[in-house]
């Protein structure tokens, strides 16, 4: 039985993974998570904003991390649109992300019946490099003459009231690159506005200094952060059901635990089998010795 386990065809493992992933994702089986402190703080900050306030979000990421930043952006948008907060998105530091922002917002905006240009807008990329940090403290019109759809700046009402850091209630960067450090250093420290970040798993550890220094009002750490935020949305009756993030956290947990389990099992199996082989060898030797003695 142990040997069968060791000589297990990998296809079964693949099948198991497919089952473990697909079913919970379809059923959206949620993993209720207890919110960690940074996520709680971020939620509280957005909760304090009034209807008509605005937040800026920045997609400093690549399409490869869509699976992490899409849920993060979605929970934010759910929270904002349900409270009537207006949203403007940019990706001035990551040209690859230009295609990502607008569809992400549209998915949620239709659920709340929010109009583009009046309730939200996506501005896309502008080749200003690190100069954006300074320029956005004055007026984003200096950076953008039109939005990602090519609509002129002056014809987009939502932009007219949120033109610099001091106009918005929160600036949050969804970062797959090393940009949160830049934001804190070049933008938040000199111009002093509420700032937060949503980052991928490996980057979480780097954010704590900023959080402790109060340079970030909160942080969403990886997909887990998004899941915690969904839990908060649910517990505050902002959304009825959990989203993809909680579901994927459930999937992650299952996959991880089962993986660990089979690894340990396989090790036990190897251990036992080695023991058995040892015993067999000894018995064989004894038998051979007896035979030899018999011959003697």
């Amino acid at each position: 039985m142990w040997r069968k386990l060791l000589s297990l065809n990998t296809r079964y493992i693949y099948l198991a993974i497919v089952v473990m992933v697909v079913i919970p994702v379809i059923l959206k089986v949620p993993l209720p998570t207890s919110p960690s402190e940074p996520t709680q703080k971020l939620f509280d900050h957005i909760d304090t904003l009034e209807a008509g306030d605005g937040i800026w979000f920045f997609l400093d990421t690549r399409p490869a991390t869509t699976a992490i930043h899409r849920p993060q952006l979605h929970v934010l948008l759910h929270h904002c649109f349900s409270k009537g907060i207006k949203v403007v998105g940019f990706n001035p530091l990551a040209p690859e992300a230009t295609g990502m922002g607008r569809p992400f917002i549209q998915e949620i905006a239709v659920q709340y019946g929010k109009q583009e240009y009046t309730d939200w807008a996506y501005m896309g990329y502008t080749p200003a490099g690190l100069a954006v940090f300074n320029a956005m403290s004055k007026d984003i019109k200096g950076l953008y003459s039109q939005d990602v759809t090519g609509k002129a700046f002056d014809e987009i009402p939502v932009l007219q009231q949120f033109r610099k850091y001091s106009d918005v209630g929160l600036v949050i960067t969804l970062a797959g690159l090393k940009t949160p450090g830049y934001w804190v250093r070049y933008a938040q420290t000199p111009y002093k506005f509420p700032f937060a970040s949503g980052v991928t798993g490996p980057m979480i550890a780097d954010q704590f200094p900023f959080l402790n220094a109060g340079q970030m009002v909160g942080m969403m750490g990886g997909i887990l952060g998004a899941a915690e935020y969904e839990g908060l949305l649910k517990s505050n009756n902002i959304r009825k059901q959990f989203g993809i993030a909680s579901a994927s956290m459930f999937v992650q947990t299952v996959v991880h635990y089962i993986l660990v389990a089979i690894i340990i099992l396989a090790n036990i199996a190897t251990f036992i089998i080695n023991k058995q082989d040892e015993k067999d060898r000894q018995t064989r030797d004894v038998a051979r010795a007896r035979i030899d003695s018999g011959i003697e």
Binding site: R11, Y14, I17, V21, V22, V25, I26, A64, T66, A67, I68, R70, T200, G201, P202, G222, I223, I244, S248, V251, Q252, V255, H256, L259
Partner: protein, 273 residues
Amino acid sequence: MEIVSLWVIAFFSLCIFSYLYRNNPFYKFAIHVILGLMVGYMFLQQVLIGLEQLVVSPILEELGQPSPDPFDILIQRVLPLLVASLIFTIFVPEQRWLSRIPIGLLLGYGMGYMLTKSLEADVFKQLNATLTQSIAVISGDSIFRSRWPAWGQFLPGLSALTVIVLTIFYRFRMQHPTIRTIIYIALSLFILSLADSIMILVGVLAVLSYFFFSFERRGLVEEVSRVGLVFMMVYFGAVFGNTVLTRVQIFIGQVDFLVFEWLGGTWQALFGG
């Protein structure tokens, strides 16, 4: 159009995933489609556009000028083109060696660039970072010193000294196991008495010594390099375990797309549900 693109994306994704079962015609088809596309894309972007940007349009611009400078055109545009086109002698068996000239230039450029860059950015900067960290910890106060300030001052120096002296003894005089244990104790004491960055320093030294090629792995070198190996294994294990999360997340995103956007979108398009 939306539905079409959804179906195209889904089809290709499923074709790729089907490889997990075995290599099959669908997979081969998908892969060869991508191969053809990308070869064409590279041909378009690298060769056609490259030629246009590097050679054709500069020459046209130059000729467009009131007083074109033939020397400029020859040296900067035509000559490189000629040298580069030597690579096509690969098809002429007896003149094949000529194709080595552009390759040689390319490699010389790359390696010359690499040499200074990696020496500066990786070797010097990394050593510097390691040293600065540990010095900051030593000259500043560490966990240990903040607790027992009285002899926390001396302990690092003391234990380090013990380690060095005993090591020298062990190396040259008496290879006694107790001395080795004492060395280990003093070493760990030394590390503990300082802080993580010293741990990093020790790790760096140990792993570096793992890569010594010119001594036999014997005695001290073996000990230290085994410590280095352990450090590396810790790193590899941690990296591996940490990557599972993100990779699985990517797959979850893919499944999410297939289930909700593809099937769901199709359903909505068909039945408007």
